[in-house]
Subunit: 357 residues, 2 copies
């Protein structure tokens, strides 16, 4: 963590949360045990989640403060993870500014009219706090309930948002996105810049409401080579990190298949860099450089193997993290839907027991 | 290329083909120009392919020697690429030994009864040359037609084949595959060993019929961390490369998202290592080490951008390959279906013109 952070807004991390293992690890301070949380810990793998979501479309569930609060708390209650992550979806801020999009079960976000021309940019207006009043309300409830457990704010990064908007939905190859990026760099830069502003505003709302950290998800950015990332993506991601730097909350950055990008993703302004399971943490540390905490990186598919195999794989992760200044244990990607929740609970317990100071 | 290769079989590479830019580059010798070919050059992007395939299911088309010959030749005629690749599908040898599987349009290979237990292994009998007589016949025709253009033999690698067999079809997360790999390493090793033998036999048939090189496609292996690759996959891939080493034909190895595995994939026994677009070739060379040619690595999505952007990206690839002992220009993954064939033809011409000695 750099020393030049000046809280400029109302940031409400409680003293108890500030002393949590999770936030200590983010800051690279000694911890009582290695903190653990899981990407997608709130969601599809939990029966209590499936129950409260019954009959409620995904986007609607993200706009109901009581429901968001309940879903965000569920994995904290069940698994005793060291941090909660705000339950949302990366397209929520885009929906909030009035874009016609929906999340189709089994497909993902689908955008009615893709963004492909300069004229289309007009549809990306600025996000105002009032557009997401339910976020402020939900986080207000959450921080009351969470006590000393820190809450991580959540947002999708400009590249990944752009891919959904330009393709019109999930894409394996990102053809249209890359055609714009390579073929019309100015339009591309303007698109990402607008998305950076929207994302910054969305994270700011969450921090001002009480989030103690933020994670910027660039799920698809592993589709790019380093030179292209530096040229076409990093300026926008940096803009987001800079916009929230003044609050002094740790900024986590994560993507999948980003082995070649880890150094640049840290440079973009992250205090914590998430690593998928493809790069051992000691090698990731060499790429990210000193002064940043790493988060990861158990293969989520390992949880389908017997307990002894899970523990042996978790031990390998912990061993590769031994010399890091800060480590947050997580999976290398989100919890897979068919994962046994008990395997997750056991894993939290195992990591805690292995690392108790 | 090592000097200890002793042709033991009937290997029919013509003198003209042996002197081709492609085979010279495989051997790390000086070339008249950088050779170019494209993964999936024969197939979905070509109107003449769609025409000859009309009404013929994929697997059937792989078993008709005249059709295979025509499809394999089409991109050579149209694009003037420096090598042909034998038209097939990675599940062809599995179909040939009697497994109940099919290739569903828009889905991929689907296996009626997945392989999940030791008893299931019995279904993986050895492949005999007579099981794939159409391959021998097609290659006989092809080498006559191709003249000095070398033919690359084609096979899927044990891990990728295993993933289809264990999952029962394409999979994003390979849960069942990894559950077996982590949970029952002995069963896993035996499965991969059988697949290595089948693959070796399939490649041997192609080499004896006249293929001048072979490429082993491990499309999904980028889903593994290096330690897991070394432990659970490398022995089987090495077995395949060893089995064909005596023929002295260059052995190419390719996967996607394999930045962390490049060194090990070379070590497994490849003479040429394929690199996707995520790792710059100069960095890939550091990971692969001396004595091996690299193949790649233009992002296939770049071909959706205007010509000037394609040329600028191709120039970057050539620049990053400048100091390599051997370079074969290719895309970093297969040609995408919607690619304009003319863009491919222009790209071949561009690479040739930029690199003419």
């Amino acid at each position: 963590m750099s020393g030049n952070e000046r809280p400029t807004g109302q940031q409400q991390t409680s003293t108890a949360a500030a002393e949590s293992a999770f936030l200590k690890a983010c800051r690279g301070e000694p911890v009582p045990h290695t903190p653990v949380w899981f990407m997608r810990q709130a969601g599809r793998s939990l029966p209590e989640y499936l129950k409260v979501r019954e009959g409620i479309p995904m986007l609607e569930s993200c706009m109901r403060p009581e429901l968001v609060t309940e879903i965000t708390l569920q994995p904290v209650r069940r698994h005793k993870v060291d941090a909660a992550i705000y339950f949302s979806d990366i397209v929520v801020p885009l929906k909030a500014i009035g874009l016609d999009l929906d999340i189709k079960p089994g497909v993902g976000p689908v955008v009615a009219e893709p963004i492909r021309t300069r004229a289309d940019l007009q549809r990306l207006r600025a996000l105002e706090p009032d557009d997401v009043a339910y976020v402020t309300e939900a986080i207000g409830m959450l921080t009351g309930e969470l006590g000393s457990t820190p809450l991580i704010g959540f947002a999708g990064a400009p590249f990944t948002l752009a891919s959904y908007l330009v393709e019109g939905g999930p894409s394996r190859n990102h053809e249209h996105t890359k055609a714009m990026m390579y073929g019309d760099p100015e339009l591309w830069a303007d698109l990402l810049d607008r998305l950076a502003d929207i994302t910054s505003a969305f994270l700011t709302v969450q921090i001002e409401a009480g989030a103690s950290a933020v994670q910027l998800f660039d799920s698809w950015v592993g589709a790019l080579a380093p030179a292209e990332y530096r040229r076409s993506v990093m300026p926008a991601s940096s803009k987001v990190f800079d916009a929230v730097a003044g609050y002094g909350v740790p900024r986590i950055h994560f993507g999948v298949g980003t082995g070649e990008l880890l150094g640049l993703m840290g440079e973009a302004g992250a205090d914590v860099v998430g690593v998928d399971w493809r790069v051992p943490l000691d090698e990731a540390a060499r790429r990210v450089g000193a002064g940043r905490t790493l988060q990861g990186n158990l293969d989520p598919a390992v949880l389908f193997a017997p307990r002894s195999a899970v523990e042996s794989a978790a031990r390998e992760v912990l061993a590769s993290a031994r010399d890091l200044p800060g480590h947050i244990f997580n999976l290398g990607h989100g919890v897979l839907p068919a994962t046994d929740p008990d395997a997750l609970t056991r894993l939290v317990d195992f990591v805690h027991s292995q690392t108790q100071a």
